[in-house]
């Protein structure tokens, strides 16, 4: 018994020589940080305090050289100790993301207080202005954004790309994939999802628009889309599921991408008659061609931006072959040709006539 008590004590001391005073009424756990580029290469960090309904909210902003310095300076300008243990969202300005965010991500990644389930969001516009405006009408504005992200993260519904710190860093450190993050357009009044931002290493390279976003969601991880709109053909497809097969040929010069798409036509405002089997077949062919074209364009966009968010590089790995280096794959990826095919299994809106 003595041994157990002693070893338990030693274990505890080994774990934490100092017990933090986190008395809940004396601290202010923040749930979001907004990071933008400050003057002279500095960082401009903002947060919202306190997360208590009944107290007036305040945005704390610091212009600092280091991320942790910002965290420390918050404490000096607020009557409660600002704690980052409940940090759930980091909003990074698009311009800052283009310059590289490795140091920021690493700081967040190595902080034992900060959970790896921290959502990374790229914002196009002033997030601080948005929050300042929201304070007037909402009790805890940041919390609603957290619920939004959490909702779309659940079961990867395919409506939005939601990425947390762990997933971002995993892709960052993998030689065969590049990180992605959601990008939102922000102004004083609105917080609107724009699409997915693609990173090359830690730098934001490009982002895709809503139309390409649908294709990306479908082919990324065999996704499910509740609604797939095709304005070019005046069609809305519902409950779309996709099954993607990717294959690189032996010399890695051609990528064959086969997408099996299942869904049903839920809305049609075109001129054709979808009750007619022949005309429906034509529409099927049109959808197929359009998707093949759009997917090829998306892949080419990725290729041109030198990013591989679909983790195509992993197809080069084999059980008995030496894995190639990141540079080798990058060179190969720049020259890969695409052969995209779609298989459609579409249920019509109504019974069709032969």
């Amino acid at each position: 018994m003595f041994l157990v008590i002693m070893s338990s004590m030693l274990w505890m001391i080994g774990c934490s020589p100092f017990v933090d005073n986190n008395q809940i009424e004396e601290i202010s756990p923040v749930i979001l940080w907004s990071i933008t580029e400050g003057a002279e290469g500095k960082l401009r960090i903002s947060t919202l305090v306190p997360p208590i309904y009944s107290e007036p909210k305040k945005i704390l902003t610091q212009e600092v050289d280091l991320l942790k310095e910002g965290g420390k300076d918050f404490n000096l300008s607020y009557h409660r100790e600002v704690k980052s243990g409940q940090l759930r969202m980091v909003f990074i300005e698009q311009e800052l993301a283009k310059k590289g965010i490795t140091s920021l991500m690493n700081t967040l990644f190595t902080d034992p207080d900060i959970s790896q389930r921290l959502y990374i969001i790229i914002v196009n516009g002033s997030f601080d202005d948005f929050i300042k405006n929201q304070i007037k009408t909402q009790d805890v504005p940041g919390y609603l954004l957290y619920r939004l992200l959490k909702h779309y993260e659940y079961k990867k519904q395919g409506d939005m790309t939601i990425v947390n710190l762990h997933q971002f860093m995993k892709r960052y450190y993998s030689p065969y994939s590049d990180p992605v993050a959601p990008i939102f357009k922000v102004d004083k009044e609105n917080f609107i999802y724009e699409g997915t931002a693609f990173f090359k290493n830690d730098k934001l390279q490009t982002n895709i628009n809503k139309r390409n976003e649908q294709i990306f969601q479908l082919i990324d991880h065999n996704h499910h889309l509740k609604v797939l709109t095709i304005p070019e053909l005046s069609i809305t497809m519902g409950n779309v599921t996709s099954k993607t097969k990717m294959k690189l040929n032996l010399d890695y010069s051609t990528l064959s991408l086969n997408v099996e798409l299942k869904g049903r036509i839920e809305e049609y405002r075109g001129k054709g008659d979808i009750d007619n089997l022949d005309q429906l077949a034509v529409i099927h062919q049109q959808i197929k061609s359009l998707f093949e074209k759009q997917t090829t364009e998306l892949l080419k966009k990725m290729q041109n931006s030198e990013v591989d968010p679909l983790e195509i590089g992993t197809l080069t790995l084999g059980p008995f072959s030496k894995p190639m280096s990141e540079d080798e794959w990058s060179t190969l990826w720049a020259n890969v040709k695409f052969n995209v095919t779609y298989e459609l299994h579409i249920q019509p809106l109504t019974n069709v006539r032969k």
Partner: protein
């Protein structure tokens, strides 16, 4: 002070050895100043002089007249013991025997001519009716419970186990109280080692007064400093009969309705008689619920203190907001808040035990509304803590063993201190200490933490769940019974 103690000690006189020959003068001397002591003289039909000595309050007066007085007056026989119409007549010689018989409800008969002493047992049947158990209430199943009459209690067990294998050995404990203890076991089933341990423990008890079985248990326990009882107390004859059939030993103690059972394990404290009445799935669910409740009653409030003091990160965000909201303006730290509320809860619990039943509702109103609601409104406690304290209080009553429920409080406070100083690590540390302690203690020299340690897989069928009876055809392995099987077909 020590010197004084020694000096005072000198004035005590050693009691005279009692095994002197019984004489009328010596008995008169010991009965002096006892107003309920009677010494009367009677002559039999053949003119024999007989003196009757008894303590009026201890004997059955009606039976005295019917079984002794009347037969004596009309007796023509030489030997007066043959005249008395009661079976329990014995000859006595020593002073010690005489005193013991007098004080346990016998009358002494003295024949001056022959200088012979007889004792006839006529105890006063002062008892209450067989009532429903109040401490171990069940919805279905047998309703009778033990009373203070030890023989009646033995009868209740014997009726349930009409077997000649059911042995009962009688002991007397307490130099003053002379409390009878009956040890019952199933010969051929119960491990003889347990019996000999129990026998030796009972015969070496040295104390003056035993008023309850828990006093006896305190002297028989292997680890009397432990907070966990090593003897199961129960006032239900059905439970005692069941445990006897498993191969355990039951101790009935005179003047108390609570029998003792041993050897037990920690897990027996969570078993209710109703477990063996309910359907096995229902019983298993309820038993698991009891374990969960026990753990909750120990660590729910300490977890609150640990989270609110050290680990705000572990709280779900929405709960954190609610907690922040409710704690912002409180004057006490989470520890003092919890400490004061738990102390108040204990005061209410203790008061409810002492108060008459009809006042119980008033106490509930005072406890629930005044202490709970008002303390929140006055800003002395957070709403969340009040909820947790309430859940803790209710959860603590789910454990069937009352002594365990009581011991919860102390452990809870220990956890509270640990949680305050080192947070969740403190709680984990406390749990480790309890587990180590449970593993180190024994009941009648048998491991208290069996069948977990030592590990007896087969006994797990009646551990966290209550398996179907069809699967429990073997007696518990940790009891090392002489008969393994409970069924006649596979019995060897």
């Amino acid at each position: 002070m020590f010197w004084k103690k020694l000096k005072i000690g000198h004035h005590f006189e050693k009691p005279e050895p009692q095994n002197t020959v019984l004489t009328i003068d010596s008995i008169r001397q010991i009965l002096a100043n006892m107003d309920d002591a009677e010494i009367i003289e009677r002559r039999t039909n053949n003119d024999q002089m007989v003196m009757l000595l008894y303590i009026r309050t201890l004997i059955d007066q009606e039976r005295l007249n019917e079984s002794v007085m009347e037969p004596l007056l009309h007796c023509d026989l030489e030997e007066i013991n043959e005249c008395i119409a009661t079976t329990k007549v014995s000859r006595i010689v020593t002073m010690e025997e005489g005193q013991q018989k007098l004080l346990t409800g016998s009358i002494l008969l003295y024949e001056p001519m022959k200088n012979q002493w007889w004792a006839a047992l006529l105890p006063n049947p002062l008892t209450r009716a067989i009532e429903t158990s109040e401490t171990e209430t069940i919805m279905f199943g047998p309703k009778d419970s033990f009373s203070e009459q030890i023989d009646q209690n033995v009868t209740m067990i014997r009726r349930r186990l009409p077997s000649t294998s059911l042995k009962s050995e009688r002991f007397s404990v307490g130099s003053v109280s002379k409390t009878e203890v009956v040890m019952m076991y199933l010969e051929g089933v119960t491990n003889p080692e347990f019996i000999s341990i129990a026998r030796s423990k009972l015969s070496t008890i040295d104390f003056d007064v035993f008023l309850d079985s828990s006093h006896v248990a305190a002297f028989m326990e292997d680890h009397y400093h432990s907070i966990f009882p090593q003897f199961q107390q129960s006032d239900r004859p059905d439970l005692c009969a069941f445990t006897l059939s498993m191969g355990k030993i039951t101790f009935l103690v005179a003047n108390t309705p609570f029998a003792l059972t041993a050897p037990i394990t920690f897990f027996h404290l969570f078993q209710s008689p109703e477990d063996y009445i309910n359907r096995w799935l229902v019983a298993s669910f309820l038993r698991l619920l009891r374990y969960v409740s026990y753990v909750l009653s120990l660590i729910l409030v300490p977890i609150y203190v640990a989270l609110a003091t050290h680990h705000y990160q572990m709280l779900p965000m929405q709960v954190l907001f609610v907690l922040l909201e409710s704690r912002t303006k409180l004057p006490f730290t989470p520890f003092w808040e919890a400490f004061l509320m738990l102390i108040t809860l204990e005061i209410i619990k203790e008061a409810s035990l002492r108060m008459p039943t009809k006042s119980g509702q008033v106490l509930g109103v005072i406890g629930g509304i005044v202490v709970g609601q008002a303390s929140v409104e006055a800003g002395f406690a957070s709403k969340i803590l009040i909820i947790l304290v309430g859940v803790t209080a209710i959860a603590s009553f789910l454990v069937p063993n009352y002594l365990v429920t009581k011991s919860n409080t102390l452990l809870q406070f220990a956890f509270l201190f640990l949680a305050n100083y080192i947070g969740m690590l403190g709680i984990v540390f406390g749990i480790i200490v309890i587990l180590v302690h449970l593993n180190s203690i024994t009941s009648l020299k048998q491991p208290y933490f069996a069948p977990l340690a030592h590990l007896y897989w087969r006994d797990w069928l009646d551990l966290f769940i209550r398996g179907p009876f069809h699967w429990m055809k073997e007696r518990p392995e940790y009891l090392h019974t002489l008969q393994k099987w409970r069924t006649s077909q596979r019995r060897k």
